[in-house]
């Protein structure tokens, strides 16, 4: 998988970009699966310092999910400090002028809460899951680290080791992570989406306390944060807590806009990686529009048609029928700026990569030329719709979806109209999306396979393979 999202701990799942859709048009009575109630229960308030607070009361369980979405990610980095947004995410748990390193976690866990955080190309998101009785503490802790973060040089050194270990786990000891980093780095020649979110090794080893201080001052302005709360709490109570704890933090100059735009790609780029591997990898990353592009829903449905589930088109053709791959994954990676859509194929041992690539190209050309079927589109809409409801079944899923819509689409209310938005997507829209995305001149192909066997006799090598 592309290293789009790095978590603070292993337990974290990938950022749940809400995946939403509806199937057949409602007739006279609207079936329940197409009706998203609750919009009137969501309340929002913008504090005097510019921080927006959004609350959705849900009293199913006596807990609250709190998300702080900060609009900063690896796209805000420059050479020398790659990985700093992610490292910063780690440091947000490591002490303030009022609390010693580790106190954040100790205090929260002692009141029954847990937390995590993750960083992507675009955002850094802090998550707390607390019993409602610990809500006051959660606000105290969140405001303290936004207002009073401090950096202990000893802690910086040990956290550097933690992050490097994360990099070794996900990138250096992982063929998938390694190839994704190479492809992403090759796809962009100008835009900072070329930065690996975890950072290049020399930067991990090199960043300084001054880098951290500057990064904090620039990016952690309250007016650059959006707070989402979902669970067993009323909006008025949340707003009172937000006014008490967060409103006193002064508004700051917002971070500078990312100025660089990626020039148009005028020809295919290729990257080859030779590493010890039994199962070769073939990745293709296509230049794609930003998350808020009106074609976003059609692109999401296109990737569902191609790669989601055992009946998806590429899985059926390449894995089941031709047995050229053992796994096909794909997704539209949604960000603030135009980015990438990924197709990631894992191949069986001994596969001839060019033959697989030819079959993939043929399948993609077919989608571009002939489009998709009604059944394929209906299936994709139904899968999105069931995924949507699974997400809304938890306070955590609601918080994640509200935040994703607010931050990437500009308005959390789009969550409630999403089924309608997806319902309207037509076969023509999907074909248009395929023509937009699958342009060879706009793609970067990555291949990872074992280096060619040395001229040495084949027998010992064959023996080593049991």
């Amino acid at each position: 998988m592309p290293t789009a999202s790095l978590g603070r701990t292993l337990s974290l799942g990938l950022l749940a970009f809400a995946t939403l859709a509806a199937a057949a048009p409602p007739r006279n009575t609207v079936p329940p699966e197409y009706v998203v109630h609750g919009e009137d229960q969501v309340k929002s308030l913008t504090l005097a310092n510019g921080m927006k607070v959004i609350v959705w009361t849900d009293r199913d369980i006596p807990n609250v999910a709190l998300y702080n979405w900060v609009r900063v990610g690896s796209r805000n980095e420059v050479p020398g400090i790659t990985g700093l947004a992610h490292f910063f995410e780690h440091m947000m748990f490591n002490g303030t002028s009022k609390r010693k390193p580790g106190e954040f976690d100790r205090a929260m866990e002692a009141q029954g809460g847990s937390n995590n955080a993750f960083t992507t190309d675009d955002v850094t998101v802090y998550q707390d899951w607390v019993p409602r009785a610990a809500l006051d503490l959660a606000f105290d802790l969140e405001s303290d680290r936004l207002a009073n973060l401090s950096f202990d040089p000893k802690v910086i050194e040990s956290e550097r080791g933690v992050v490097y270990s994360e990099r070794r786990l996900r990138t250096e000891d992982s063929n998938e992570g390694f190839l994704a980093e190479q492809v992403q780095g090759t796809a962009f020649i100008a835009h900072p989406y070329q930065n690996p979110t975890v950072g290049w090794p020399a930067d991990i080893q090199g960043w300084t306390v001054e880098d951290l201080q500057k990064f904090f001052k620039t990016n952690y302005a309250p007016n650059n944060c959006t707070l989402i709360l979902v669970g067993d709490v009323g909006a008025e109570e949340v707003f009172a807590l937000a006014k008490k704890y967060l409103e006193p933090i002064p508004r700051q100059e917002p971070p500078p806009k990312v100025r660089t735009t990626e020039p148009e790609q005028l020809g295919e780029r290729r990257v080859r990686v030779q590493r010890d591997a039994s199962t070769p990898l073939l990745y293709a990353a296509y230049k794609s529009p930003a998350a808020n592009d009106p074609q976003g829903p059609a692109i999401n449905l296109l990737f569902s048609i191609l790669t989601e589930g055992n009946s998806s088109r590429l899985h059926r053709q390449l894995v089941e029928e031709k047995k050229l791959a053992i796994d096909v994954a794909g997704r539209f990676q949604e960000g603030f700026d135009p980015g990438l859509s990924w197709l990631m194929l894992t191949l069986p041992e001994g596969a001839r990569v060019p033959a697989v690539e030819a079959a993939l190209d043929q399948a993609l050309a077919q989608v571009v030329q002939q489009g998709v079927t009604d059944a394929e589109l209906a299936r994709a809409k139904n899968l999105f719709l069931s995924g949507f409801w699974k997400g809304l079944a938890t306070v955590n899923g609601k918080a994640s979806a509200l935040g994703a819509f607010e931050v990437f689409e500009g308005d959390y209310r789009k969550l409630f109209s999403a089924p309608e938005t997806y319902r309207k997507v037509t076969r023509e829209d999907v074909q248009k999306a395929a023509a937009l995305i699958f342009q060879k001149a706009h793609r970067t192909v990555g291949v990872l396979e074992a280096p060619p066997q040395a001229a040495a006799p084949a027998a010992p090598a064959a023996e080593a393979k049991p």
């Binding site: 609750g38 006596p62 866990e109 029954g112 010890d276 209906a378 955590n396």
Partner: protein
């Protein structure tokens, strides 16, 4: 989602609902099992229904007893392949038609072999209840277990093990660890098979397993979500009423002995930049009377971010991205295991630290304030794991599997509240291994860590490319 209907879907329907779950318990410890109907059909099939209309989905969860436990001798992976083939052609549908019909309506069906059962779950939109039951009945009672589908699926499973070795070797640690720790016991068998054992399986192994061990009396089905209980009951009777009982008896599991002394399995992965390690011994079973105390002590030791293990190996020293411990509890004791990783040159340092923490745990009294903190944490997080219909379907299937009552869930909070220092000390002495008694597995660059490994006991070496999880098999 145990109770309230914050989305207020179809408000009119809500009025007619007969279920009443405990809503928004005032305290986290007040988790209540939602009202449900349980019945057993004449053929022995057990069904549990949990109506809940928060979102328009129906979740199911269930199992057929058996699993890796009844894999034929020397053929681990049979149950796993049976599980994988259930939805690859069944009833009147081919493999492709089956997938088309599940995913075409946005549904899901997953099945996998565990140590003592084939477990399955899935979710469909409420409007597709009839189709869901038809597909589920076909998958369980009438799978084709077709030769071509078997060969294709089996070949891919072999490749997936190789792919894991290429991209995430740490996920294989428990396979190596269990193979060694439980040697000679069914828990030693890799539940998904190994590259070698999968390659040797035949379609007849698969067909024979289904014929012998599938049957109504071995099966439990739990449905939770948006449905009418009476309509569901009628539909299930019609679909499953004619299912026969299973033919072959299940063996009775005995507890495996705990390991004494230390031994090391070094799995050589040349060029690996980190060492991934697993330290384990036989722990306790699902019925362990000290469960609340054990959960608190393991939370403190290796079960949360500020745990002793994570504090020493990550927070204070920066040696790793994560260190944790857990108990796996079956009808007989499964393993207690510590798992972590560190850069190759720090292998000895990190393992020493892990052993030191275990030694301290065994010898020093727990800080009362820490025990309070763990209690608050476990209680505070518990409702988040029992929030949705899918959570409840899984939790009630678990109770059925182990023959436990709802007290196992509802009594948990009150039992946690009563755990005192003495009880915590007792389970620490009883259930956690001494650092001197451990099976140790290291995956890493053997040339660089061989010397460090030898400090911990006699070392057996194998290559990661070997097609089994144990060096001994032939």
């Amino acid at each position: 989602m145990s109770a309230r209907h914050s989305l207020r879907i179809c408000a009119a329907l809500l009025l007619s609902l007969a279920f009443a779950t405990a809503h928004a318990a005032p305290e986290a410890s007040g988790v209540k099992v939602p009202a449900n109907q349980r019945f057993v059909l004449p053929n022995g099939l057990t069904v549990v229904l949990v109506p809940n209309r928060e979102v328009p989905l129906i979740a199911f969860s269930g199992f057929v007893r058996g699993g890796a436990l009844v894999d034929p001798a020397g053929k681990p992976g049979v149950a796993a392949e049976v599980a994988g083939l259930l939805d690859r052609g069944a009833g009147k549908r081919s493999a492709f038609e089956f997938a088309d019909d599940i995913e075409g309506v946005g549904g899901s069906f997953n099945a996998a072999a565990g140590a003592e059962a084939i477990n399955f779950n899935g979710q469909f939109m409420a409007r597709d209840m009839k189709l869901m039951i038809e597909l589920l009945a076909d998958a369980l009672m009438r799978p084709h277990l077709d030769a071509d589908e078997f060969a294709k699926f089996r070949d891919r499973d072999i490749e997936f093990i190789k792919a894991a070795k290429d991209s995430d070797p740490s996920q294989l640690l428990p396979e190596y660890g269990r193979a060694r720790l439980f040697s000679g016991h069914p828990y030693a068998q890799p539940q998904g098979g190994s590259e070698r054992s999968l390659a040797a399986l035949t379609q007849s192994d698969i067909v024979a397993y289904h014929a012998a061990y599938f049957g109504a009396d071995r099966t439990v089905l739990v449905f939770a979500g948006f449905f009418d209980a009476n309509a569901m009951k009628d539909a299930l009777k019609a679909a499953f009423g004619g299912w026969a009982k299973a033919r072959s008896a299940l063996p009775k599991l005995k507890a495996a002995p705990r390991a004494t002394g230390r031994s090391v399995l070094l799995v050589d992965s040349p060029g690996s930049v980190q060492t991934y390690f697993w330290l384990g011994n036989v722990g306790v079973n699902k019925y362990y009377s000290g469960r609340p105390a054990l959960d608190l002590v393991n939370t403190l030791y290796g079960g949360r971010f500020t745990s002793i293990l994570n504090t020493e190996l990550r927070i204070k020293s920066g040696l790793t991205y994560g260190a944790s411990s857990r108990f796996t509890r079956g009808t007989v004791p499964g393993e207690f295991a510590i798992q972590s990783f560190t850069q190759t040159d720090d292998t000895g340092k990190a393992i020493d630290l892990a052993l030191e923490t275990l030694d301290k745990l065994k010898h020093d009294a727990l800080d009362p304030a820490m025990l309070e903190s763990a209690r608050a944490y476990v209680l505070g997080q518990y409702p988040l794991r029992l929030e949705t219909a899918a959570h409840w379907a899984a939790a009630l299937a678990d109770l059925e599997f182990y023959g436990l009552g709802k007290e196992y869930i509802e009594g948990y909070g009150p039992a946690l509240a009563k755990v005192d220092q003495a009880e915590a000390a007792a389970v620490t002495a009883d259930a956690f291994p001494r650092p001197e008694d451990l099976v140790i597995v290291l995956i890493g660059d053997a040339a660089r860590i061989r010397e460090a490994a030898a400090k911990y006991g006699p070392v057996t070496e194998m290559k990661i490319t070997q097609p089994d999880f144990s060096p001994a098999s032939k």
